[in-house]
Subunit: 208 residues, 2 copies
């Protein structure tokens, strides 16, 4: 199981520092949508993060103009880009084609995507990672373990699941034991910790 640490709502300087601290500690380092919309891909291309061990994910959350956004996104050193499951299917087709052609990865963000649409997506985009998560803005309670179980029952052909949403050490351990998800995504509980490296190491321990 992989650990993805999500960096959000900090300055570019802080994001760069944290990314370098966590390089090699976690499997995937995510620069969240807030970093992209605040600073832009041109800046992220110019100030390359140059990770040496971890993969880099940019949470582009593409809704439209799939080919353009993914071509621009992969001009940075990103290994993985994200597209919204709720976008028009032509958009998802375009982003997938760009990712496959460049031998890169794509995550489909399933926020508010209907079950019917998810089934279409899991049939066609077998190499995609499916991002299961709660909107950060939602105030409803979220049980990640139960959500994963329910999700896999509904969509049994799915191969690669990433799960996010306020996951703490206890939940991370339970998700690892459950053995259905491939990646857990942790934000504030690593990046907002006094010592992000130590926090990340604790998560790595409980999921191995």
């Amino acid at each position: 199981m992989k650990l993805q640490a999500a960096i959000d709502r900090v300055s570019l300087k802080q994001a760069t520092q944290i990314a370098h601290q966590l390089d090699g500690i976690v499997d995937i380092i995510e620069l969240g949508t807030s970093i992209i919309k605040d600073y832009g891909l041109e800046t992220l291309k110019a100030q390359d993060f140059k990770l040496t061990k971890s993969e880099l994910l940019l949470d582009l959350k593409t809704n439209d103009e799939g080919k353009y956004e993914f071509e621009r996104g992969y001009q940075t050193s990103a290994d993985i880009l994200t597209v919204m499951g709720g976008s028009d299917e032509s958009t998802i087709q375009q982003t997938y084609a760009v990712a496959q052609a460049k031998n890169k990865k794509m995550l489909i963000d399933l926020i508010e995507t209907s079950d019917k649409k998810i089934n279409q997506l899991t049939d066609y985009y077998q190499n995609a990672i499916f991002g299961l998560h709660h909107s950060k803005d939602s105030t409803e309670a979220y049980d990640a373990v139960a959500s994963i179980e329910q999700f896999v029952k509904k969509h049994p052909t799915i191969k690669n699941i990433a799960v996010a949403g306020g996951i703490d050490l206890d939940q991370a351990q339970k998700i690892a034991q459950q053995g259905l998800a491939n990646t857990i995504i942790v934000g504030g509980k690593i990046v907002g910790a006094t010592d992000p490296v130590k926090a990340a190491q604790k998560f790595m321990e409980v999921i191995k």
Copy 2:
């Protein structure tokens, strides 16, 4: 009826030039999602567009973190920001609250939003502009006049409609005569024209 000119997929320098050329010629100048994701809100804040007559719309296409994105977005001189209709309703609540508190406008982008969700949205967010359009990536034919008519039949309480999707002069005139939409959004046919000002003036003539 208002005319909104959308600027997309050009350099920041070109975007700035075109925006200033069109200031006062069209009602609303849109900086598209491509400009935001390429250059970032920090850059757009620092290099303020300072429009004197037209309103400025930033096509943020917020999917999550509604409060954060809208607060950042309105730190530029934007009058209108956009949120995805397909996002979690808590996100739309947050963006609407920020827009109302700042006495600014919000457009809800209805790409791939279900009819049921649209009816909920039109009930609650009466001051929002509802953006009716086709995904740019879709290859299906799109008849804007027929789509507007159908849309208003399904959602009769809607007050403020903006319509986009490959609209040419002929369609613009028909939409104006139809009298149901409040704004038409034109991209390439103005911004991609040899003389964007002349092209915009022609659109203004046929919709008045």
